[in-house]
């Protein structure tokens, strides 16, 4: 078979892969078909990789095979991390993706040096800059999430100006290269400056803001792959990159909306935002209760809504909550979970954790669907959630979270809140909900407290 004929087969294999990619995303839209979606993606990726190995341009396979083995060796353990480590794994994989895209762009520069046009030089420079900054930025993000690096925002005076100058330098170097592509000495400098900018971009951001940053880096990683597709004239890369890029972009937008930040604020400003200083919270009286009282109240209810938040993830309380759900359900009580779109620290965070604990997904109700139910709810049990139930978002126009859509927990008959102290959540502000007459504070670690409630409930059952 001649090279042209093989190329045709390869082209069709890539087209099939593209179709399967699209179907994969389509099927991911619902949990019923999601596994089929993953399968379609796997088939597509396998097809594309195997087809590529037949590419007649390949002359030596040794390094390919070695690299594939190393890649599998890194990838498999990264696929087996605990579900709680998913955020940092995601950040790390963006780093790898961007690294790969940057390396290929760099190689393409040196390969094509003699015949590179200005336009192509521009594409390569853009691609390599985005890839490089996404690489280091994602590494920093992963480090913060894994708590290898300090979570708190690291800031100094004039930071924004310094960072922007560094970005400006990278762009100027790129421009110089477009005019003189043969100035090879500029290229590695540009790469280093871009890598540096990635570090400076993410370092000032607090650990809690990482999810927004991760989604944006996701979108950058995707778009750099698409740009690489332009450089290499590979349509399969363009499509995969565009899909990945738009996915990251949409997730960022969804998070912004659910946090009531403006879109431009995230694209241009979010990086600069420094955690709002925690305002002094005056000590006001709250009603607190014991696990025994909480168990009695739950036992007497007909309709219970559990609102999980970041604290559930910290305490790893999801398994105990599922137990609680099962016990109450068995007693004929209607129990559901209310999921706020940005509860936790990652889009979909609560859903995966609760699914991991075997809570059926039809008990996980989205905000818009559950909000009308609260007036008919006897007991709301807030487990380590704070901002997502803060009525200040509705009532206080000056609050930092004003306008953020929230779960209307305060409309229920009784509200019980499990948290360790009166300290605030991510947004750093006080929560009026805790001071309502209908609210009972259940102070303690989420997992321990839920365990105690379960014990009391079982005791009640044994008693009767």
């Amino acid at each position: 078979m001649n090279a042209a004929a093989i190329q045709q087969y390869l082209d069709f294999a890539y087209i099939a892969a593209v179709v399967l990619f699209i179907l994969a995303l389509k099927w991911l839209s619902s949990p019923v078909s999601a596994r089929r979606g993953v399968l379609a993606g796997e088939v597509a990726a396998g097809l594309a990789v195997v087809a590529t190995l037949y590419n007649p341009e390949l002359v030596a396979y040794k390094w390919i095979v070695i690299a594939l083995i190393i890649g599998a060796g890194i990838g498999i353990p990264l696929g087996m991390v605990k579900i709680t480590a998913v955020p940092q794994r995601t950040a790390l994989s963006h780093a790898f993706g961007a690294l790969s895209a940057a390396m290929i762009g760099i190689a393409e520069y040196y390969v094509g040096l003699s015949r590179i046009s200005r336009f192509e030089m521009g594409e390569i420079a853009m691609e390599v800059i985005i890839g490089s900054l996404t690489f280091t930025g994602s590494l920093i993000a992963a480090g913060k999430l894994q708590e290898l690096l300090p979570q708190r925002p690291i800031v100094y005076k004039g930071q924004n100006i310094v960072s922007l100058s560094v970005l400006g330098a990278a762009v100027l170097l790129a421009a110089a290269l477009v005019i003189h592509p043969e100035q090879t000495v500029l290229f590695p400098i540009m790469v280093i400056v871009a890598l540096l900018f990635g570090v400076m971009l993410v370092t000032p951001i607090g650990g809690a803001d990482m999810p927004t940053v991760i989604s944006l880096l996701n979108s950058y990683a995707g778009f750099s792959a698409a740009l690489l597709g332009f450089v290499l004239n590979s349509k399969v890369l363009i499509v995969a990159g565009a899909l990945d890029g738009s996915s990251g972009f949409i997730l960022s937008v969804i998070m912004c909306k659910a946090m009531n930040r403006s879109f431009t604020n995230v694209l241009f400003g979010a990086f600069g935002t420094v955690q709002v200083a925690v305002g002094k919270i005056e000590a006001r009286p709250v009603r607190s209760a014991s696990a025994e009282e909480a168990a009695e109240i739950l036992d007497a209810a007909r309709k219970v809504v559990i609102i999980p938040g970041y604290g559930m993830a910290v305490a790893q309380a999801q398994h105990k909550l599922r137990e609680l759900h099962d016990i109450l359900t068995k007693r004929g009580i209607d129990v559901s979970f209310a999921i706020h779109p940005v509860a936790g620290r990652m889009p979909g965070h609560m859903n995966v954790l609760l699914a991991e604990a075997d809570v059926p997904y039809d008990r996980l109700i989205e905000m818009d669907e559950i909000n009308p139910e609260f007036p008919r709810t006897d007991v709301v049990l807030v487990v380590g959630a704070n901002d997502v139930v803060n009525p200040a978002a509705r009532n206080d126009k000056n609050s930092p979270i004003a306008g953020m859509p929230i779960l209307n927990a305060s409309e229920a008959q009784t509200v019980m809140v499990i948290k360790r102290s009166m300290s605030p959540g991510f947004a750093g502000i006080d929560n009026e909900l805790y001071y309502l007459d209908k609210t009972l504070m259940l102070f303690g670690d989420a997992k321990n407290f839920v365990t105690s409630i379960i014990k009391e409930l079982n005791a009640v059952a044994a008693g009767t």
Binding site: A48, L99, I214, N351, A355, E366
Partner: protein, 98 residues
């Protein structure tokens, strides 16, 4: 402008529209697996990395290519693996009972 630029632009724009249309409709339930799946799909850059490595033009490009192969292939393997693991955790109440 390279000759294929325009057709690549068409592909990019159309794929962008497809992506937006599809991803907007992914249930929020699955936003975490969505991230890891698109990541795995994006790892398709491995095909470009394979070609760079296998063309074996200079030691530099082969090295860069091999790093790229390892990095993106680890994403591909790990991404599909963890997505599948997460997806399998999602069970409906009906499925759970049976």
């Amino acid at each position: 402008m390279p000759p294929d630029f325009i057709s690549n632009l068409y592909v990019f724009i159309l794929a962008g529209f497809v992506g937006f249309g599809l991803i907007k409709r992914v249930s929020p339930l699955l936003h975490t697996p969505l991230m890891s799946l698109t990541n795995a799909l994006d790892a398709i850059v491995v095909v470009a990395a394979i070609i760079i490595t296998g063309r074996h033009e200079t030691p530099l490009t082969t090295t860069l290519g091999a790093i790229a192969v390892a990095a993106s292939f680890s994403n591909m393997v790990g991404g599909f693996f963890i997505t599948d693991r997460m997806i399998r955790m999602f069970k409906s109440g009906a499925a759970k009972k049976s």
